[in-house]
């Protein structure tokens, strides 16, 4: 149950931080249609995060930060707003600054491709909540990946400027890709228990999908080495980039000022 809780946090935090980053685009996107699309994707991910945080809290109540007695803050919010940055379990890719639109598209493409592949196996989870979250999520993620893939192709084959930017974006984001497929001990155990998915098992399938996108776009496979771990620890262990404490600081500022608040 502890493993299940932690595993749910991993999946939840990936979605929550990605959603928080995407929502930064709101009122800033290149066109209204993209403003709406990016908000929509942020909303989908936020929805996934909420279900998964609730499942994490149910599976292992000890994960939920203690709040003052009588606090009306629900478990999903206690987890989202009252954990410190070092307790977040997301991969580092989702923390990365939005950068320009190309960086955002590359992040979304790489992340949604990996997440779909995981969710496609997760529908068979012996945990019915995870299975249901996965079933619902696949449809959403397919839209996210299609949106990102369409823009990836468009930018790669658009103008010289957009091509330069998509290449730079791929160079910047791709070192963070490997971490998504590195098996964490918790993932190994929940996979063995038939509850979760070992992400290493989907790495090849994702690579094939992405290779198609790259080929269609006329873009070379990225070759940069993966971002190093810190003494073997990465995002899943709470070892993040400097960006996360800033994201979390902004996200939590109002909630933390009112631990007894109702919203």
């Amino acid at each position: 149950a502890a493993d299940l809780g932690t595993y749910c946090l991993m999946l939840a935090d990936d979605a929550l931080i990605a959603s928080q980053r995407l929502s930064e685009w709101c009122s800033r996107a290149p066109d209204l249609e993209d403003d709406i699309a990016l908000s929509n994707i942020a909303l989908d991910l936020l929805g996934q995060a909420r279900l998964l945080l609730a499942r994490a809290a149910a599976a292992d109540p000890s994960l939920v930060p203690a709040l003052p007695e009588g606090s009306p803050v629900p478990a999903e919010d206690a987890l989202a707003f009252f954990r410190d940055a070092g307790e977040f379990r997301n991969v580092r890719l989702v923390e990365l600054d939005n950068g320009d639109f190309a960086v955002t598209i590359v992040k979304l493409l790489l992340h949604s491709s990996a997440r779909i592949a995981i969710f496609e196996q997760l529908v068979d989870s012996r945990d019915h909540v995870l299975s249901a979250v996965a079933a619902k999520g696949i449809k959403e993620l397919t839209y996210h990946r299609d949106y990102a893939g369409r823009w990836f192709l468009t930018l790669a084959r658009g103008t010289e400027e957009s091509r330069r930017r998509i290449d730079a974006a791929l160079g910047q984001v791709s070192p963070l890709q490997a971490e998504m497929f590195a098996t964490h001990a918790v993932e190994a155990r929940v996979a063995a228990a038939g509850v979760g998915v070992d992400p290493a098992t989907v790495a090849d399938a994702v690579a094939v999908v992405l290779a198609q996108v790259f080929a269609l776009s006329g873009v070379d496979q990225p070759t940069k080495a993966p971002l190093a771990a810190v003494q073997g620890r990465q995002g899943r262990d709470g070892m993040h980039t400097e960006a996360l404490s800033r994201i979390v600081g902004e996200m939590q500022v109002v909630a933390r000022a009112h631990p007894m608040g109702q919203w």
């Binding site: 929502s23 009122s27 709406i36 936020l46 945080l53 989202a80 919203w263």
Partner: protein, 309 residues
Amino acid sequence: AELLAEFEATISRNDRIEPRDWMPDGYRKTLVRQVAQHAHSEIIGMQPEGNWIGRAPSLRRKAILLAKVQDEAGHGLYLYSACETLGVSRGQLTEMLIEGRQKYSSIFNYPTLSYADVGTIGWLVDGAAICNQVPLCRTSFGPYGRAMIRICKEESFHQRQGYELLMTMMRGTDEQRAMVQESVNRFWWPALMMFGPPDDESPNSAQSMAWGIKRNTNDDLRQRFVDMSMPQAEALGVTFPDPDLRWNEERQAHDFGQPDWDEFMQVVKGNGPCNTQRIAHRRAAHEDGAWVREAATAYAAHQVSLEGA
């Protein structure tokens, strides 16, 4: 002259004018100005609330707020489309906005300073907008009227959500209640200003009413808004910062004070607390996104030429 007669007959039957119908130049111009201003208001209106998406204090509220701001983008989209049926493109309209040649609702030139503002904007600002807009569902120009029907439906939903946020906060801590009252104090007068200057100082109203673009006077709508808001404030447990505000048994309506019209004029003239910031934000988004829009155009052209080949 025959065309004009037909146009006027349509108006007087309370029928819709459609884009392909003949219409007087003044009517078209007034409409473009009004619809564009309305569209710009939706788009600029994303900023004050968007300011708090990243800091929403619960995941449920974050989802509600994100969806709401997204709806505003959607409203902007319908209204720009309605405007395009009058022969002005979204690109042209955006240029006019960021060059300051077209206006947007002055309310969005006030800052949002706490999360309670999200609720207050929903309740009072969207509430005032609805008072202004419901009559526009019957406006004479078809695409505008139909857009307004859809928009009004969503706006009432937003208004209820805003009111519900404030209601929830009022059930919370003392700090939260103080936050709500402070927010209401700040937005009450600007909300009243949303109905425009008093009737005797509103030069364009008469013609707009004759054309069926506008359906009620500023002061009528303002009165209706005050009367509607008072019982809601009481239910919420907040007051409005107006010592002259009281029920007038004789008129069967509330008496109330006048907003600071000098401040209103300052804001309209571009000197409000956030005018520069709002336009700069919009301009930055537009300019930062130019390379993306160009890439999309280039890619589409390329696809067409491939299909042609």
